[in-house]
């Protein structure tokens, strides 16, 4: 276990790159925003490996917190807020009582 740092960095890299590919391949936009959040959290782990706690804190707070909330809010206002596939979109007017459709 003397190369624990290497294994952690490898795991974070694999998760990050898989999330990045998922952003391009996923059809559901809400899922793509969630994949972007995964990429930010993987980057935060790599920043800790690089001995930068300040930057890791900022990346985690901004990438996972604020950026995800802004994207999700804008998706809701754009009418792209579907949980599920696009085929059962139907009526997504924002006066359901849970805001979900389909």
């Amino acid at each position: 276990m003397e190369h624990l740092i290497n294994w952690i960095a490898l795991l974070a890299t694999v998760v990050m790159l898989a999330g990045a590919v998922a952003v391009l391949l996923l059809e559901n936009y809400l899922a793509a925003v969630a994949a972007t959040t995964v990429v930010s959290l993987g980057a935060a782990v790599i920043f800790v490996v690089l001995r930068a706690p300040d930057v890791a804190l900022t990346e985690a707070a901004v990438g996972a917190g604020l950026s995800g909330v802004i994207m999700a809010l804008a998706l809701r206002r754009l009418g792209l807020w579907h949980i599920g596939t696009a085929s059962d979109a139907g009526d997504d007017a924002p006066d359901n009582d849970t805001g979900r459709t389909g």
Binding site: D54, L57, A61, V69, P94, D95, T98, G99
Partner: protein, 229 residues
């Protein structure tokens, strides 16, 4: 066809960058400026967090530029979205879990955000991290009860005063010592809360500005009328 060409371009670009950076030695950074800053910072600035002394001491002008960029982006976003109509429909109130959690989390987020801001010169943290948490704290009631009146003018006043406070402290440095944004007020004992001169005050100004700005921008997006499907 276009996709295949794009893939080929990206592969070629990645290969080119790989070849270039294979010549650089990773893990043995020359650190020409960083070494000097690491050695001089405990004596000159007195902050336990050396990154803070770089952000607010040695490169404080860059932080001022960043505040300007944030201000421009938030103002432009607010201008683009405009004001909602008085009779615009909005989302219904959120469920019980979000209501209870928002009421519980709001004071906790405020305390954590202010703690991270104020201790920015001692531990990893600072104005930007704490400001982001404050923005989340200010925005959370709007998520739980959409349609509550978000006090845009009040937040704009706080944001303007915080930005002006940053510049005024810088100008005081210019008046007293001859350099803009020079740290004043003596260094104090390293590791205590009242150390590193005016750096904590600068970070409080930065944190308040970032927090209120991002909260206002998110409130603008939240109040924007939903598109009819």
């Amino acid at each position: 066809m276009r996709n295949a060409l794009s893939l080929l371009f990206i592969a070629g670009l990645a290969f080119l960058l790989f070849v270039i950076t294979a010549g650089l030695d990773f893990g043995a950074a020359p650190m020409l400026v960083g070494q000097g800053i690491n050695q001089a910072s405990p004596g000159q600035v007195g902050a336990a967090n050396i990154v803070t002394s770089v952000v607010l001491g040695y490169r404080a002008l860059d932080t001022l530029g960043e505040l300007a960029i944030l201000f421009a982006a938030a103002t432009a976003g607010g201008l683009m979205l405009g004001r909602p109509r008085a009779d615009a429909r909005h989302d219904p109130e959120a469920g019980f879990i979000l209501l209870a959690a928002a009421d519980l989390l709001f004071p906790l987020l405020l305390v954590v955000g202010l703690f991270i801001i104020v201790h920015g010169h001692l531990t990893p943290g600072g104005g930007f991290q704490g400001g982001v948490i404050l923005a989340a704290a200010f925005f959370l009631p709007l998520l739980a009860r959409p349609g509550t009146h978000f006090n845009h003018p009040g937040f704009a006043v706080v944001e303007g005063l915080a930005g002006a406070a940053f510049i005024v402290i810088g100008l005081l440095g210019l008046a007293r010592g001859g350099e803009f944004l020079m740290p004043l007020l003596g260094q104090g004992a390293m590791g205590s809360l009242l150390s590193a001169g005016t750096l904590p005050l600068l970070y409080i100004a930065v944190g308040l500005k970032v927090g209120t700005e991002l909260a206002g921008l998110m409130a603008h997006i939240a109040e924007y009328e939903a598109v009819d499907p």
